[in-house]
Each structure stands twice: as C-alpha cells, then as structure tokens.
C-alpha cells in the first residue's frame, strides 16, 4: 500500500523512524545549493551537517512517533512524516538566518 510520501506504509515505530530519516535525507539532498550556503560558514562539512540536522529533527518527532501505533494511536504515521518535514523546514530556515547570512 502506498502512502502519500511515496513510501511503503510503515508497520512499526522502527519502520516509521527509518522512513522519516530517509525522507529527511532526500529533502536535504534536494536542497543542495541552500545547504552549501549554510555550511560555507560552518566548520562541519555538508555530510556532517545533514547528519546533525536529521538527528535534531528525529529528536523533535521521536516521542510523538511512539504514539502513532497501537495501543496509543494519537497520530497517524503520515502525520508524523508531515510534522518531520515541517520541522525540517523550520530548522533549515533558522540555520539560513544564523549561518548563511554571515
């Protein structure tokens, strides 16, 4: 069964986190020019920056993702993925303001 982000519907919390990680990396890789401007003023390289950003976003959705599966289904996996993407956008905008304009 296909979900809206083009990935296989996840069956478990671990699957969902793995899918979120893949989704975030794809999104970051599609924004290469933007990332290049941010990383230009940092001492970490682009790969490390991506890893740190993915870690930060996953931390931000990790608790809610636990509630996307029975017995406590407060969210759907799709909602968690949407939330992760919104959080990523917010954090990349923050980093642009902080680092890309230096």
């Amino acid at each position: 069964m296909e979900a809206s982000h083009g990935t296989v519907k996840c069956e478990s919390f671990e699957d969902l986190i793995s899918e979120v990680v893949d989704l975030l990396y794809k999104k970051l890789e599609a924004d290469e020019e933007r990332l290049r401007r941010i990383v230009a003023n940092l001492e970490v390289d682009a790969e490390t920056y991506k890893q740190l950003m993915v870690k930060e976003v996953v931390n931000g959705i990790y608790i809610d993702a636990q509630f996307a599966f029975p017995p406590h289904t407060l969210y759907t996996p799709e909602q968690i993925k949407e939330k992760a993407l919104k959080l990523l956008a917010k954090k990349v905008e923050r980093d642009e303001r902080l680092y890309a304009s230096t």
């Binding site: 986190i17 970490v44 870690k55 930060e56 902080l98 680092y99």
Partner: protein
C-alpha cells in the same frame, strides 16, 4: 537502516541547565560563543522559529579558554542550542548539567593518617561518602596544617549538595552533622 535514538522528553518541571562545550582552541570557542549570541538575538526577532520555553534575555553565554558555557532555566528545551554547539564547530565534548554546582568538600583527620587508614577508622557512612568522592572526583588534595590533615575534593557537575546534605547517588550524607566535614 535501523536507527536507535535515546530521547529524553523535556521534563514537566524546570531546572537550571548548564551546557559546557569544549573545542579545539580558544578561537573556536569564541566563534561558537558569538554564534550563540547571534542565535539569542534571532530568537527575539523570530520566536516562532524555535522550540523553547525560555526567554533569550534570561539565558547566559560565556567562554573561558576553549570552553563555552550556556545556562538557562528550562524544562529541557535545549535542542536548538545543542544543535548550534555541534554545527558551528566540532566540539571535543558537550556536557549537560542540571543545577550545576562547583563545590569543594573538606574532610579533616588527624595529621599523618592516610585516606585508606582514615576510611578504616571512620564510620560506615563517612567511608561510603569518601568512596563516592574518590570514584567521581578522584584522589583528594592533601593539606597538612598543625595537628590535622585535610582531604580536599573539588567537584563540578549536577547538584549534589543542598541544605547541609550531600546527595551521592542514592546515598544521603548529612555533612552538617559532622564536625570534621565541610563544604564550600
């Protein structure tokens, strides 16, 4: 790919948090300190861009040598700060403390007594406290003065001393009931 993430949910009550990041040199530490100041300014202009429960005016930023210190009263909303500490430059370490304390613990014994011998003649609780101090603070500085000898430990980390009592893991040691113990 499987991910394992250890996440501590922000607590329901707030504490004074202290983050201490160590970098390769003072120049790098200054760069990170300046980035933190810039972030605090940005938080004032764009509060919706951050996930925090604290006011940027109430946060403290300082640097000493290759260390950068960030302090704030929060229920654990520090993701934005931790991310900056790791992105601006690669830290050698980042330590996080709740109610950070720097204290010195003194234990007075008769002159000439070694710490091992002192532990044998002290009561069980004193020996237990010294065992903890040796484990977490290392061997003490020994100061001989007149007829007495003082063992001195410097401690820096999460709060362990409050209202005359040392909280050493699950063990409580009321220092104020001991004439030969003191904490500054």
């Amino acid at each position: 790919m499987r991910w394992r993430v250890i996440k501590f949910r922000p607590s329901s009550h707030s504490e004074d948090y202290t983050l201490i990041a160590t970098y390769k040199d003072e120049e790098t530490a200054k760069k990170v300190r300046d980035a933190l100041f810039k972030m605090l300014e940005d938080m004032k202009k764009n509060p919706e861009g951050y996930d925090t429960d604290w006011d940027p005016d109430e946060a403290g930023v300082s640097h000493y040598g290759d260390h950068v210190t960030f302090e704030v009263y929060t229920a654990g909303y520090l993701d934005d700060v931790e991310a900056l500490l790791e992105k601006v430059a690669k830290p050698q370490s980042v330590e996080c403390y709740q109610n950070y304390q720097e204290i010195t613990i003194y234990v007075q014994v008769p002159k000439g007594l070694s710490l091992d011998a002192a532990m044998l003649v002290m009561d069980k609780d004193e020996a237990e406290a010294i065992k903890w101090l040796r484990k977490y603070c290392g061997e003490p500085e020994v100061v001989d003065d007149g007829e007495s000898r003082t063992f001195k430990w410097d401690y820096a980390g999460d709060e362990i001393y409050s209202d005359g009592t040392l909280y050493l893991g699950s063990f409580e040691f009321p220092v104020d009931e001991r004439r030969n113990w003191s904490v500054e």
